[in-house]
């Protein structure tokens, strides 16, 4: 047994002694495609609404709330899914967010929000994480679809046009500062600025 392990170790240390350079190059190339492709496919599989609502925590709470909003159903049928708003689209940022999400796996395993009561108790904390994230990246996930440069103030309601042409235009405020709770119910907002 030890002999076999030693032999394997020798091959791993100096593969070019045992295998041809061509084999190693082509083999490495193919393995690279398989691993990289597999990694990205798995990553994309976790980046779908179907995956998100495969857990009852998401399906029974936030997904039900989303269903009643304009981001789920509307006259033209264009809709946003969970990752459209909650996962950055750029690859590096996406990976960073996915690493953060390991905390969510922890929460799933230990049942941090596995009942309605526990979820309601954590709602403010969870909401604050998302507000902080969107505030920090200047509401990037909103702006992936809602481009300020192409907003027609004349087609907006008077109130919307006033707010968008002043505070938003000057960069003093970002989308999430005013548009909290557009896709999910708000938590107790005591002490939140602007409420």
């Amino acid at each position: 047994m030890i002999e076999i392990l030693k032999k394997a170790w020798r091959i791993l240390c100096k593969p070019s002694v045992h295998y041809s350079l061509g084999f190693l190059t082509v083999g490495g190339f193919v393995a690279g495609i398989i691993f990289w492709g597999g990694f990205n496919t798995a990553l994309e599989a976790t980046n779908t609404e179907k995956f998100c609502i495969s857990c009852h925590e998401m399906r029974d709470n936030v997904y039900q709330e989303l269903k009643t909003t304009i981001h789920f159903t509307n006259r033209s049928g264009v809709r946003a899914t969970c990752p459209d708003c909650h996962v950055p689209h750029k690859w590096t940022n996406k990976i960073a967010r996915k690493m953060q999400a390991s905390k969510e796996v922890w929460g799933k395993i230990f049942g941090t929000i596995n009942t309605r009561e526990k979820f309601e108790a954590h709602r403010r904390e969870l909401a604050e994480h998302e507000w902080a994230r969107l505030k920090a990246n200047d509401s990037l996930e909103c702006r992936n679809c809602h481009n300020f440069n192409y907003m027609d103030f004349t087609r907006q309601s008077p109130r919307a046009a006033r707010a968008h042409s002043t505070a938003l235009a000057s960069g003093e405020k970002t989308c999430i500062d005013c548009h909290k709770g557009i896709a999910h119910h708000l938590p107790d907002m005591k002490g939140v600025k602007g409420f």
């Binding site: 909003t69 309601s157 008077p158 709770g181 119910h185 938590p187 107790d188 907002m189 409420f195």
Partner: protein, 166 residues
């Protein structure tokens, strides 16, 4: 053979009779739905479910809308159906509260909303006034279901003054 044929005819006749009786009872029952003779806004018998009229959008209006009588709760001149008003949050107050109006430029809720029913002032909106949409409503551009004969009190005063002059 003959008797069996006869009895078969008898049974068929009986079945037909009971069938018509059932249909007749059904027709009578359909005609006499209790309360059908009252005029309602349903415009359909109580035992049928009419297709509801299409939804309309709430109107967006520049500035405030005039009140029809002094005690009328002001009408909401903008869309408001998406605002969450519950135990946790009141999104109307995020613009119309005293602490928010300087920034939102929205009209402040009247001071009467800070009074208890014993006329004691509170620091915050009185719970009895918390649910805005119990009194304040947005407008939709739909045709009225019933004719409205409301006359503004100013018009009545004017009419009676004119009468006295003549």
């Amino acid at each position: 053979m003959k008797t069996s044929k006869k009895s078969f005819a008898k049974i068929t006749a009986l079945l037909m009779l009971t069938g018509t009786a059932f249909i007749a009872v059904g027709a009578v029952a359909e005609k006499t739905i209790r309360g059908d003779h009252f005029a309602t806004l349903r415009h359909a018998p109580l035992n049928t479910e009419p297709t509801p009229p299409p939804l309309t959008n709430e109107k967006e209006h520049h500035g405030s809308l005039a009140r029809n009588y002094p005690a009328q709760a002001p009408i909401i001149p903008h869309q408001a159906h998406k605002y969450q008003i519950n135990r946790k949050v009141n999104q109307c107050l995020s613009c119309h509260d005293r602490s928010r109006v300087h920034e939102s430029k929205a009209p402040m809720i009247a001071i009467s909303h800070y009074l208890t029913r014993n006329n004691h002032f509170l620091a915050q909106v009185s719970p009895r006034r918390y649910f805005c949409t119990q009194c304040h409503v947005s407008q939709e551009s739909s045709t009225p279901l019933v004719k409205n004969t409301f006359v503004d009190v100013d018009k009545l005063v004017e009419a009676s003054a004119n009468k006295k002059q003549h």
